[in-house]
């Protein structure tokens, strides 16, 4: 009955199904649907590059056009994952170069990419269009030269926060004159100056260019030249935003900005000189996205900008915005969906800014569509958290970082259990949560009880005992990623929730109290998990079962233990084999 539709019809129907989740469901209906679906799947997303091997992916999906891979654990962003951990894109790119000649898009996050791989990409994929390297490392501007020179149909080159060995800015000059397909270019992370005339010519011959994120080295006085060549820009990242006091530069810039009728997002603003801010006032009313998180702008300058942006949906700022600036946000930005406030001086005990919990409460009151928050501050109270929770039950992402570890409610000196408890209780659609401050096992009880939709949880310096971890593992039905540091969680909770680990993408635990023996046991019991122990002191061979492991990374996989681990990481399979016991 199912086979009464010809394959072509089913394929056509499937082409409307784009979400991975749905595609996976389709492939489970029956064998023929599985077959049809696998031949017409065009996009692959692999959230953990070690969960599956390139070979397995290629065998199942032979006609892929777009691949997205993620490598290192999230805590690598904060230097908790040692150098040489892994996440090498090389084997993937090499195998795909043979299997997917028509591959168009590669998106990598937290992976190690080499110049050789970039060269391979530029020469093997004839129709290559999109390269996004997010927080990647291992390559130099030499690799970018190959991409620029060889990818004839390149649409997007986005180096988002990658660490590039910046040998020179000359690579950009290698885009041939025939390359006119560029739609998006993000070179903000590069230090070297690129040839401005090459950049200008590239921009001028790219009529479809919508996103341009410059690096700091592009001086402000040249920005208006670029804007005049690309008035169709939708997203712009400026370079350095200061130039001495020069009225000709200001006027030129102001005029150029007013010509950009399509501009919806701004970022950059390094080394900002506030006197140049009014130059972009003309675009403010259309702005939906504003990233001032690298700009040291204080009140009243920042308040003046915010007051002009009634359509803002995303705002990233530094804590220079202060409570007063956030009051302005609450007043003016009624469409705000996402707020991120970063610390200007994260390693100083008392910062010179008046940013407190009040700013966040204010925004939660004034912005009815607020769903995503990342907030660094130095004080918080349960009452503020409860207020925020009641104001904004539509929160999807709540990441709070109180800078001092284990800081209590500053008013009552109590733990912040009740406050975060209110967040998970009221915000029923919460998908991502990061905790901070003084927290006992109680907060995990609340989380386990209420946070049923939670997918990612970050915990630091919290809890009293294994019970805390047990609440999370047994209660959070939707949990996919769990990352924990410096918490007194040991073996009991892990061993009591062994099956849970296979339903998650990954678990990271560092500076906790999990023992070597428990890791071995876990590994024996769950062959579908890689249990990787990281020990930089080099004592893995002599570890007793009762010793606590330094860092632990557990993830489900169909690819077995990986073969590219450095000496200080072992999977517990290896340890089982090595110990004679």
């Amino acid at each position: 009955m199912v086979n009464s539709f010809p394959e072509e019809v089913l394929e056509h129907v499937f082409s409307f199904i784009t979400l991975d989740k749905d595609r996976n469901a389709v492939s489970l209906v029956c064998k023929s649907w599985y077959e049809i679906e696998r031949w017409c799947r065009r996009r692959i997303f692999v959230g953990n590059c070690y969960a599956v091997s390139p070979g397995i992916v290629i065998r199942r999906f032979p006609e892929v056009r777009s691949v997205e891979l993620k490598g290192k654990p999230h805590f690598a962003d904060f230097n908790l994952v040692p150098e040489g951990w892994g996440g090498y894109a090389c084997s993937w790119i090499t195998e795909m170069s043979r299997a997917y000649p028509w591959l168009e898009e590669i998106r990598l996050k937290r992976m190690v990419v080499t110049d050789e791989s970039l060269e391979l990409i530029s020469t093997c994929f004839k129709n290559f269009k999109v390269l996004v390297l997010s927080s990647c490392e291992g390559f130099s501007t030499d690799g970018l030269t190959d991409i620029a020179a060889n990818c004839r149909n390149l649409r997007k080159l986005d180096l988002r926060e990658s660490e590039v060995m910046d040998l020179s800015g000359h690579w950009l000059s290698h885009f041939p004159n025939t390359c006119t397909s560029l739609e998006s270019l993000n070179i903000a992370c590069l230090g070297s100056e690129v040839s401005f005339s090459a950049l200008e010519r590239l921009v001028a011959r790219s009529p479809n260019l919508k996103t341009l994120r410059l690096n700091r080295a592009v001086p402000l006085e040249k920005l208006s030249t670029l804007l005049r060549q690309a008035p169709q820009l939708v997203q712009l990242g400026t370079g350095a935003y200061s130039s001495g006091i020069r009225s000709d530069v200001y006027l030129g810039l102001s005029k150029a900005f007013s010509g950009c009728k399509a501009l919806k997002g701004l970022s950059g603003f390094w080394d900002v000189d506030p006197s140049y801010l009014p130059a972009f006032y003309s675009v403010c009313s259309r702005l939906t996205s504003l990233n001032l998180s690298y700009a040291t702008i204080r009140s009243p300058d920042i308040t003046k900008v915010i007051g002009r942006c009634p359509n803002l949906q995303r705002l990233w700022v530094m804590d220079h915005v202060e409570d007063s600036g956030l009051n302005a946000v609450a007043f003016s930005c009624k469409d705000l969906r996402e707020l991120r406030v970063f610390p200007s001086d994260p390693f100083v005990a008392d910062a010179n800014v008046t940013l407190t919990e009040r700013g966040l409460v204010s925004v939660s009151e004034g912005c009815p569509k607020l769903q995503s928050v990342l907030y660094f501050c130095r004080q918080m109270s349960n009452s503020a958290l409860i207020t925020i929770a009641r104001n904004r039950p539509n929160l999807i992402c709540f990441r709070l970082c109180i800078i001092e570890p284990r800081a209590p409610d500053y008013l009552t000196l109590e733990p912040l259990d009740v406050g975060f408890g209110a967040i998970v209780e009221h915000c029923k659609e919460l998908r991502r949560l990061s905790l901070s401050g003084l927290l006992t096992d109680r907060v995990f009880e609340y989380i386990g009880r209420h946070a049923k939709r939670l997918e990612m949880l970050s915990i630091a310096f919290a809890g009293n005992s294994d019970l805390g971890l047990h609440h999370v593992l047994s209660g959070c039905d939707g949990l996919r990623k769990l990352e924990i540091r410096d918490c007194p969680f040991g073996d009991k909770a892990l061993l009591a929730n062994v099956a849970k680990l296979e339903t998650m993408r990954s678990l990271w635990m560092s500076s906790c109290a999990v023992s070597f023996g428990a890791c071995k046991f876990l590994s024996r019991k769950m062959p579908m998990l890689n249990v990787e122990v990281i020990d930089e002191n080099g004592t893995l061979d002599s570890r007793l079962d009762s010793c606590p492991v330094e860092k632990l990374y557990i993830y489900r996989t169909v690819a077995g233990p990986r073969s590219d681990m450095p000496a200080y990481i072992r999977t517990m399979d290896q340890c089982r084999v090595n110990t004679i016991s």
Partner: protein, 186 residues
Amino acid sequence: MDLNFEATELRLGLPGSIDDQSEIKTTNSPANTNKRSSSEMGSSISDANDTSRSAPPAKAQVVGWPPVRSYRKNQLQAGKKTESETGCGIYVKVSMDGAPYLRKVDLKMYKSYEELMKGLQTMFKCIIGLYYDRELGYNNYGSEIYKPTYEDKDGDWMLVGDVPWDMFLSSCKRLRIMKGCEDMEG
């Protein structure tokens, strides 16, 4: 070999008494040379254990806390330094004995000799002899090690590390990484 008994001790009770120490231990281990850590973070961690440097901070800093990305930390630092300067870098050519091509580095990307050396080592995939130690002076680890030298404003070739970093930034015209143990004196 340091058996580090503290790390093997299982403790009950609230964390906090050993945390700071264990974090400092982690970052000082030789395997952890994560190049993405900012110099401010790195120097304050090593400061706590290296009394030959400037006074350690009152509070021991914890690795990876607060959770600010290295990328952001580096941008903030560069920002603090160059608030009154332009956005352009200080580009100098770097030659290495035996390498066919010259390279260019932006000295402004580094905040110290240590960082510059790390950068050069990564770029040329070689080991550059640790040239600079405030107390011990220059260390020679053997004739296999490369020596970093630079040409200053007066046209003289100097060993990298002689002068304070800021002075080096303003006087360095080009770099040359020399092979072997050619005598630099005279």
